[in-house]
Symmetry: C2
Subunit: 329 residues, 2 copies
DNA sequence: TTGAAAGCGCTAACAG
DNA sequence: CTGTTAGCGCTTTCAA
């Protein structure tokens, strides 16, 4: 049954001529052990290559040191950096990440969270398909932090894209643009309404016009198609829903002889690594994914310590101004 | 210390009026328990909401049910699908994935693997920075499967890109192209030599010419720059190292008035989701990442059962022929 | 400041 | 087929 003949606390204790409990204390509550003893134990443990068993510790403390992270997919470039950030932040707390990918299925999502919830200390959920009531229920049983989703007063880390989109508008209007276009995402996207509201607000304040094109699917093709509409709308600047849309716009406008940015400025509400090296480089919103990951782990750690999680953290995207946007005319 | 008042086996045993061990057996070795007893136990366990403690089981069996997965980054679109596939395959074996991201640092990679190796049942390593001797050492202590890397005779799942690149050449040459260009990756990329060898082989067999451009950095910019060279090389078809390179080529050739595919056919040795919806859609190699993930988990499972892992699995990429390649002229 | 002892919840001999 | 009995390796009272 046993296979690994790894060094246990008992072994260290024997060699050091002390009780197991003293060895344990030397690591967990160093202050409770006389300095010389402690150092000797540590040295011996080290020499013997002692590695405390997480499993045994987990059984006795009731905590595994594992955090569950649930994301909908890794194909969307939104989630890679988030996962990476969460993993790194967890590492700093000496915790590990158990990753689950729901593949955009609500049923799967629910099932995975259900299972995970009984095997980790806490959960970070960055998915949108499972129901609110379900999440509320899970949060009762286990510390839970939501990312980019709001469910009642559950602890959460939010990314305020509307304010980022507004920042794009400010930048554009500030540069002198008077007619802007927003190309919206797929029909029913919950992200669009607040963005459009924010844009309208900015437009009204400054007396600029706002044209909304779409909704269209978030694909390059759809972006290419919609570029005709955009070209005819008589706008001098366009903001695209996401990177695929913008890629399509760039291409579509190009083939219609509309130059970017000379004729029309283009910005993306979504970052995409290649946008920094396209010609022209595209003005984008950099989503604070790293920050979000760290914040989520921090919040979860607080919950696990029994502290109050604090208010939802709201992170603003950063506007990266590049060649694709400039004053009109 | 205790916090969750979850139902334990002892509880179930008491209610069912049997010994703990019988409850245990009812789940682990169902055949060793009389059918009626077994069913009664299961029903009661179910009603009580019993969930066996993985931790306790781990302590007693020495196996945690966790698999470690180490990848270099999630920014490269190569790894997202791989991670997803590994997670899914693991799930089917009722195992969970502990994910580590080395962020392309050899030192970090070594450290992570070192730590992970004492906390999971087995390891899947899809990184290239840590040293061969180190991996050999780790593999002695814990079942280990390599992905897209070969170290001695360690179990591994390989993706045979050279044969895929050769398939592109066959396709092109078969269509009548006589002068091909391969745009290679970054200086020192270990991937290039075998690809170029494969291409040369095909070219010689068929009496076609092969021009190698580069090495260049795997970026859009570099792709744009190199497109001048390509345009002047008098080739009718070009194969790019990866998606960024090809994106650059597409753009660069376009601005030089070289039409794709009318004047030059273009193919990518690397898939990229947007290539199916660009104009023209690009002929690519689809890397069998899902298959690789499944194969790796399967192989690891075999190792964990004490079976021989079998020979390295070699997976061939699939050639997806699209609009960007066609007969010359 | 240290030791002894009692678990944590489960699995796996070994009896019966 | 089922019960009894030891642990797995660690943390944590409780005493000394």
């Amino acid at each position: 049954m046993r296979q690994q003949k790894s060094v246990s606390m008992a072994d260290v204790a024997r060699v050091a001529g002390v009780a197991k409990s003293t060895v344990s204390r030397a690591f967990i509550h160093p202050t409770l052990v006389a300095a010389p003893t402690r150092e000797r134990i540590r040295r011996i443990a080290d020499e013997m290559g002692f590695r405390p068993s997480r499993v045994a510790r987990a059984l006795s403390t009731g905590r595994t040191g594992l955090l569950g992270l649930v994301v909908p997919t890794l194909s969307n470039p939104f989630f890679g950096p988030l996962v990476a950030a969460v993993q790194q932040a967890a590492e700093e707390e000496d915790r590990q990440i158990v990753l689950m990918i729901s593949e955009l299925s609500a049923e799967r999502e629910t099932r995975l969270i259900e299972r995970l919830s009984s095997e980790v200390d806490g959960l970070i959920v960055a998915t949108s398909l499972c129901g609110d009531p379900f999440l509320r229920k899970v949060a009762k049983r286990i510390p839970l932090v939501l990312v980019d989703r709001r469910v009642g007063r559950l602890p959460s880390v939010l990314i305020d894209t509307p304010s980022g989109v507004a920042a794009i508008a400010d930048h554009l209007i500030g540069a002198g643009h008077r007619r802007l276009c927003y190309v919206s995402g797929p029909p029913g996207s919950w992200a669009d309404a607040p963005r459009i509201a924010a844009l309208r607000g900015r437009a009204e304040e400054s007396g600029a016009d706002l044209v909304v094109a779409g909704p269209i699917p978030p694909t390059v093709d759809a972006g290419i198609e919609v570029s005709e509409t955009v070209a005819k709308a008589g706008v001098t600047a366009v903001i695209g829903y996401n990177s695929a849309t913008v890629l399509g716009l760039l291409h579509g406008l190009g083939t219609q002889g509309v130059r970017v940015p000379e004729d029309v400025s283009v910005a993306s509400a979504d970052d995409f690594i290649l946008f920094q090296s396209t010609k022209p480089a595209v003005t984008v919103l950099r989503l604070p994914l790293e920050e979000a990951g760290h914040a989520a782990v921090g919040m979860l750690a607080r919950l696990l310590r029994g502290e109050r999680p604090g208010k939802p953290v709201v992170l603003g995207p950063e506007l990266l101004i590049r060649e694709s946007t400039r004053p009109p005319g």
